[in-house]
Symmetry: C2
């Protein structure tokens, strides 16, 4: 490695470990979080690649959560048309989901990941240790992607999450199994060309909208918190459209509500809501396709859904769990 | 096509043609040229893609020279991780070279094409008509890439350019043959992994340096003008390093000097010169590899060259053709 970018908080806690690993290459610390995924921050990273004269024979190391890996991966993938990078995910959400699959990107205006490319890291180094120092709120957020993978894969993973505490990191075996769900799907459809990979977007069509809408509020939702709401609504929609049984809907909602994920919606207008919805990358020529659930362990990759049905799911959620005004 | 970006000058001249082709999609005009290849301009294009809500099922059309295709292609390739685009090159340099091969990019700080990706357009529409309205200085610049392809391919193309006037567009057959040289090489090595494609960089290692160094001067060099100087120096270097015969060196220099391409160098310091040289994308781990010529029709893809030999070639050029101070 020629140069490292590392989340500042992570470096504070794990300095001795990282210093042992960095092999004399400089470590530049950055503040992690969604605010990192902007063009000005990308420009800062490109500037460093310029100053350190990174070329295609040298790799960049990225140590941090999903945002740092997203923007760092994007900058590496677009520097001199692509230099190698290695990802070291430090959050639960990135270890189980974000670091896997080769999606890189930035947010643009009100839309998430609108600027980006597909680019695979040369390697992903998974160190569960990092989860020990993760704030509880981020652990809770990360568990939602474990939960999503359990909904998609069902079986042992679904069984495995029934008794867990989302205040603690997952056991290693569970962590590996949850990450494995993503690896398997991404391998089968690396560029989202076969619709197979769309199932991973479960909960994210609406989740992204809530995440965006909450951004300017007093309490912005973390990614997993927003996806939890999106999952509740999209699974309800799956039930309403006749794909899912009521009993399975209840199982899903019960897991989420037991763990206090079903919070009131952030304040919004339907006009903004709709605009954000149609900014979604999966929307093709104005029509909306999204994954739905047919059963636990069985997701439908891309069902066409009308705006009316989506609004109804949101209204149902408002009735059940409220909204902030 | 859902949206067009078109060079403003081209649209002025060819409005009726483009309006017939655009199929009701809006045409946004932009000012072409190297100044377009910056992050702020890319941001402007992304903003338009955002405002027009481009999604992956819709294509963007690009009508213009190499700079417009480079930045437009980059923005399309990074929008929602890649939307389709169609390139309509309008300059000689883009028809014969820049539009072919799937390289997109922006300049960053003092370096050319430092930010970019490989992305193939869905189609390239070649209309030789556009060349009729091209300023003479750009025709002259474009001819240099025809010349470069003739050096690489030799044979009929080399014969074909012996009597041409660089004040006029090439005949259609010659244009096709010159473009074909690039198509063939790019097909064999689309991501520059096999070094095969490196031959296309002939004249560009030093050419890029002169292009950058002249940027802030009274008379910035056009791309082809800078490459002409780079070709003279790199072909001289090929001779000095024992790869090329003196007779063939003379043939190359004679073609260029007959057509007044061998102008004095822009003012520079060796320190800046060296810095720009090592910013080159083909430099790997600090060592410099570049294509050289073994004979007309026979290029070596990636020879390691020392900085001393390069400086000597530049000094030889200064002695022959002067430099501005």
């Amino acid at each position: 490695m020629r140069l490292w970018f590392c989340d500042g908080k992570v470096y504070q806690v794990w300095k001795s470990l990282i210093d042992a690993l960095r092999d004399d290459a400089p470590v530049l610390t950055v503040e992690g979080g969604e605010a990192l995924k902007t063009l000005p921050k990308a420009r800062w990273i490109w500037k460093k690649l310029y100053q350190y004269q990174l070329d295609r024979g040298q790799a960049v190391g990225l140590i941090g959560g999903g945002s740092l890996l997203d923007v760092g991966g994007f900058c590496a993938a677009t520097w001199k048309r692509g230099i190698p990078f290695v990802s070291v995910p430090t959050t639960l959400i990135s270890q189980v989901d974000a670091a896997i699959g080769g999606k890189t990107g930035l947010n643009f205006r009100q839309g998430k990941n609108l600027i980006g490319v597909y680019a695979q890291p040369r390697a992903i180094w998974g160190w569960p240790n990092f989860l020990e120092s993760l704030p509880q709120v981020e652990l809770r957020s990360g568990w939602i992607e474990v939960f999503k993978h359990a909904l998609i894969a069902g079986g042992g993973l679904w069984e495995g999450i029934q008794q867990v505490s989302v205040e603690k990191p997952p056991a290693l075996a569970l962590l590996k199994e949850a990450a494995g769900v993503k690896v398997q799907i991404v391998r089968a459809d690396p560029f989202e060309e076969k619709r197979l990979r769309f199932v991973l977007n479960l909960g994210h069509t609406l989740g992204h909208v809530w995440e965006s809408l909450s951004r300017e509020t007093e309490r912005p939702l973390l990614h997993g918190e927003a996806v939890a709401i999106g999952l509740a609504q999209e699974v309800y929609l799956s039930y309403r459209l006749g794909h899912l049984s009521e009993a399975e809907l209840e199982k899903v909602l019960s897991w989420l509500s037991k763990r206090q994920y079903l919070r009131p919606l952030p304040p919004f207008t339907w006009k903004d809501w709709e605009k954000l919805l149609f900014q979604d990358k999966k929307v093709r020529t104005g029509r909306l396709f999204m994954p739905l659930l047919r059963g636990i362990g069985e997701a439908l990759p891309a069902e066409e859904v009308g705006i009316k049905a989506l609004k109804e799911a949101v209204r149902w959620y408002q009735g059940q769990y409220g909204s902030t005004t």
